[in-house]
Subunit: 348 residues, 2 copies
């Protein structure tokens, strides 16, 4: 059986090390938002990136102009992890899966002495980080499938309400980037329909997308497994989450997922890693004005710095490779510097 | 290889006989629309069905009432074939596939002497109707897959612009039911998001859904195959339609497809055949007020009469079985009589 995984697990393996080493530390959020400022993107410094967004919106919404895009075709897609919220040191969904293990074992005590559950329960973070890929897949399958959709939604919502990022000691859903929230709002105010197109689990992201971003569940495209329709003991219809992968929404899977779930080519797309490359290419290849942007994490003080572009440390969680940087330069994709373009990172 | 099919082919086989026997005949459309009449559903006669719709909308949109449904949760799903437009004597997409065969063979002349293409090209409608299931699957695969998404959209749009239903001698897209168009409009005017949830091909329906119903492509859920992202000879990104089934959007596949593509349970659902049963059950099983309706084709003069319920002739294209009728009575689903509830069938 091919167990489905909500992430590019090949990228996750190494970086569970980060989870293992992670100690709760506090870093002051130095962001100063400037809400009172005029204009549509108050948390953005003036510069190429802000200008590109404003010029694109102006060009595509001016009636009678040659670059006008009819409202129905105003589709903008956003990667989530690393583009709309913090993805380091590890995707929050992986943390969720690891933290769900005790509850899974409580419901099925026979797993207590079985690997990989035994190791996860031990709390030995170094041992957890050394678990082989097949074991990680077992953890994802056990914590993301086998329950009804309603049960999963309730479990994920409960975790999200209490879990906190150890660095900022704030709920993960508060660690969204204020400047990107402004882009979402600015586009929506100009008739754009905003979508999340994430390598993360579609069902997981849908639990919080409306509260965190004002994006309803039906506008979240993500890595998705199948469900099976059936009936519970009282004859009530149920949908049970299957360990069968329908859509791996990374790399080429992003435009494929956009076609499956939206059926139109976006006119604007935002990402931050190699997994977003094909989505940006596909967006750019359409007729008329296009906007393709990549968030570069170059702000170690206020958030994190990674990506070999510009001599930043390499990473496999949200890799921004030199090759992607070169593609961006060649294709006219705009790179957003968190350090230079953003006045603040988070909302106050 | 399991070739994907956009229909429940088991139901189609028998009824290709209808295609074979079909002679262009003209039947006067006796519908008298009553647009000048007051109220939200002018083409509906007063009765249980109209009353159920109006009462549901009133109950779910009255702020402060216990039955109020927040705007974001106002999801209404509609089967297409037989619920929103004519499905007899054969689904229009099957006609499309048969009529595409000459073009497919022109592009690949080696198919000319190969079955089932040879038989389809012969024009011998009785022989076409006798083709075995495996051959029908080959026709669907050859006409619905293997091309880019853009090519398919252009081909389908071209066919839809010129093809006509032989009975009414009108384009298929004009054979939508005026009373159901009014339901779509009435629900949307009251903050409902209207979706098509069809056993037909998602990509095919998306080509005309906006023009025919005001439903944008991203609000069409249907039987869907995968696509493969790649590049053409000029390096331009392409999405090619694969013969791989991702979602068979019939029966249990309807609630599964609704979860995959929308991620919320509808509060209102409309169908006309056994393939819609699970969608109606799933809709009904949610909390609060619900509306579940089934269109009964009991009007041989103005459209068609089929379904064993009420002694109508049996059919396998849009089967409304006695069992489904009994389920409707038991569950409080409202059966719409085309003959008694609708003043007119089509727009003038």
């Amino acid at each position: 059986m091919r167990v489905f995984h909500h992430f590019e697990l090949s990228r996750c393996r190494l970086f569970l090390t980060f989870v293992a080493m992670l100690a709760p530390i506090t870093v002051a959020c130095s962001g100063l938002t400037a809400r009172a400022q005029d204009g549509p993107l108050p948390s953005w410094n003036d510069g190429t990136a802000k200008q590109a967004i404003v010029e694109f919106v102006t060009a595509t919404t001016k009636e009678g102009s040659a670059t006008f895009v009819p409202p129905g075709e105003r589709i903008a897609t956003f990667d989530q992890d690393g583009t709309l919220w913090v993805e380091h040191p590890m995707y929050s969904q992986v943390i969720y899966c690891l933290e769900r293990v005790p509850a899974v074992v409580a419901a099925k005590p026979e797993l207590k002495e079985v690997e990989p559950f035994k190791t996860v329960l031990s709390g030995d973070r170094e041992a957890i980080a050394r678990l082989p890929m097949a074991d990680l897949e077992k953890i994802l399958a056990a914590t993301l499938t086998g329950m009804t959709v309603d049960q999963f939604n309730a479990e994920a919502a409960k975790w999200l309400a209490t879990a906190k990022d150890p660095r900022w000691r704030r709920p993960y859903t508060e660690l969204t980037y204020q400047p990107m929230q402004e882009v979402l709002g600015y586009l929506r105010a100009n008739g754009y329909k905003t979508y999340i197109v994430t390598g993360g689990g579609q069902d997981f992201v849908r639990v919080y997308s409306e509260a965190a971003y004002g994006i309803p569940p039906e506008q979240v495209v993500g890595t998705a497994g199948g469900t099976t329709y059936g009936y519970d003991k009282d004859g009530k219809p149920t949908l049970t989450k299957d360990p069968k992968l329908l859509l791996n929404d990374n790399d080429a899977g992003k435009p494929e997922g956009i076609h499956l779930m939206i059926g139109r080519r976006p006119v604007a797309a935002f990402g931050n890693s190699t997994g977003d490359k094909q989505m940006l290419e596909y967006t750019e290849a359409g007729e008329g004005p296009r906007l393709a942007m990549l968030v570069l994490h170059d702000d170690a003080e206020r958030e994190y710095a990674y990506g070999p572009a510009q001599q930043l440390p390499e990473t496999k969680v949200g890799a921004f490779t030199q090759e992607l940087y070169d593609d961006a330069m060649k294709n006219g994709w705009v790179v957003i510097s968190m350090k230079k373009d953003w006045k603040s990172i988070f909302a106050d």
